[in-house]
Symmetry: C2
Subunit: 256 residues, 2 copies
């Protein structure tokens, strides 16, 4: 399993992903789910993937092959050529569809789903930052001011903290903290999601991917965040008022 998260805010975008791949309890490995394609001053594109590892690797291989082939054919389409983020997402979608054509029948013959989801986000010069989610069918949706984050993989554990605290007006610095806590919560509740955390913090109009980190399990910063969060929410709960059972309440279905 995987958990990847793209967050859009007024001052930029944050991308976070875990690095655990599991093909059964006895086959857990560490693989980054995040790729960054960058041409400083022109575009920054971040791709994160979840699903069947063979499918996500195949899709990225097709994207990378196009870049290599473009050395000989400069006019060909690559991840670095679309003029908009939407067309970039469509381009990635065509690669998902190409892999689908190759592999779906063989996978389904043995009971495996055609399971792949991608987040593609970033900024192209002259455009605003965008984040898109690409489905296994190759089509996509994108984040908006009202729904400013997109998740793929093991999405549920880390959603409440974002629903509570993150919105489009959240500062990029705070967005990163919300993202780390969202991933950390997921890692704590599900062993299929694990460190290190890959993080790209993208400042609007910077057109450079220089704010990047990989947070390993024993990273002092990640440990400090985890410890402060745990102590903080326990204190917060203890400081809550207790329910008053003496007050009249609505009816119950009591038996016996």
């Amino acid at each position: 399993m995987t958990y990847s998260l793209g967050m859009l805010c007024r001052t930029g975008a944050a991308f976070l992903s875990d690095s655990r791949t599991s093909a059964g309890m006895d086959n857990i490995t560490m693989r980054s789910k995040m790729r960054v394609y960058e041409k400083p001053g022109e575009r920054v594109i971040c791709i994160m993937s979840s699903g069947n590892l063979s499918l996500t690797q195949a899709t990225l291989a097709l994207i990378d092959d196009d870049l290599i082939l473009a050395n000989n054919e400069p006019a060909s389409e690559t991840i670095m050529t679309p003029q908009t983020l939407y067309e970039t997402a469509r381009y990635v979608g065509t690669k998902v569809r190409a892999v689908e054509k190759r592999d779906r029948v063989a996978l389904e013959a043995d009971g495996f789903d055609f399971n792949i989801n991608l987040i593609v986000g970033g900024q192209i010069a002259g455009m605003t930052p965008e984040i898109h989610l690409i489905y296994p069918q190759g089509n996509s949706i994108h984040a908006t001011r009202d729904c400013p984050f997109l998740q793929i993989g093991e999405t549920k554990y880390g959603k409440p903290i974002l629903d509570r605290g993150f919105n489009y007006e959240t500062s990029l610095s705070d967005a990163v903290k919300f993202g780390i806590i969202s991933i950390d919560a997921t890692m704590k509740s599900n062993v299929a999601v694990g460190p290190p955390i890959d993080l790209l913090c993208y400042e609007v109009d910077s057109l450079v991917a220089n704010l990047r980190m990989r947070l390993d399990e024993d990273d002092p910063y990640l440990q400090e965040i985890g410890r402060k969060w745990q102590n903080g929410i326990v204190k917060l709960v203890k400081d809550m008022p207790a329910p008053d059972f003496t007050k009249p309440s609505l009816g119950f279905a009591t038996a016996a």
Copy 2:
């Protein structure tokens, strides 16, 4: 969908459940998932259910029918006769199996799973409080000091807060607060889980089910908890240290 939660701690047990039943987006109704069977001084048994509404109602109907029939046959087995919580859970499991015999084939013929899970907990005089989770197969597991809570239904959204803060040594009063926040987080992130929240707070050796509440959506206490939690965690995140991107980090898979 449903979310129900049983929490075991040294000083008692807390039971919480939502009240939303959905059979499609256009068929959402309010139904309590919690039943309490009580004989003060002898036993308190709380049952919470999730899954197919027809199956959970059928199981509870068999349990209630036994109680009615026992008026004529005082020696017959009912939810109120086992000497231990484990045997109580097994008794409920036999009812699940009886419903399975009646309904599984017909359900599966139309593509419906035989989907029912129950939490059965409480205390019988002379025994310690216990909480059991009963599977669709009628077998069960029970909460322990190391794993002191059991969830059924839409379990993921509300698990991180429990993983972070609740353990067997948590006070019963704080356990209730953790439970309310766990359910409230789930309601906020998933429309298939909704108010009112049914709550039974059981104090060890009280053998009475007098600490009960039903918290509706506009209940001032529930609103206060939600507001304080939201404000508290946003402040907590803002007070966290920001990541230092100038520090050397592990390698990345960068392309282009």
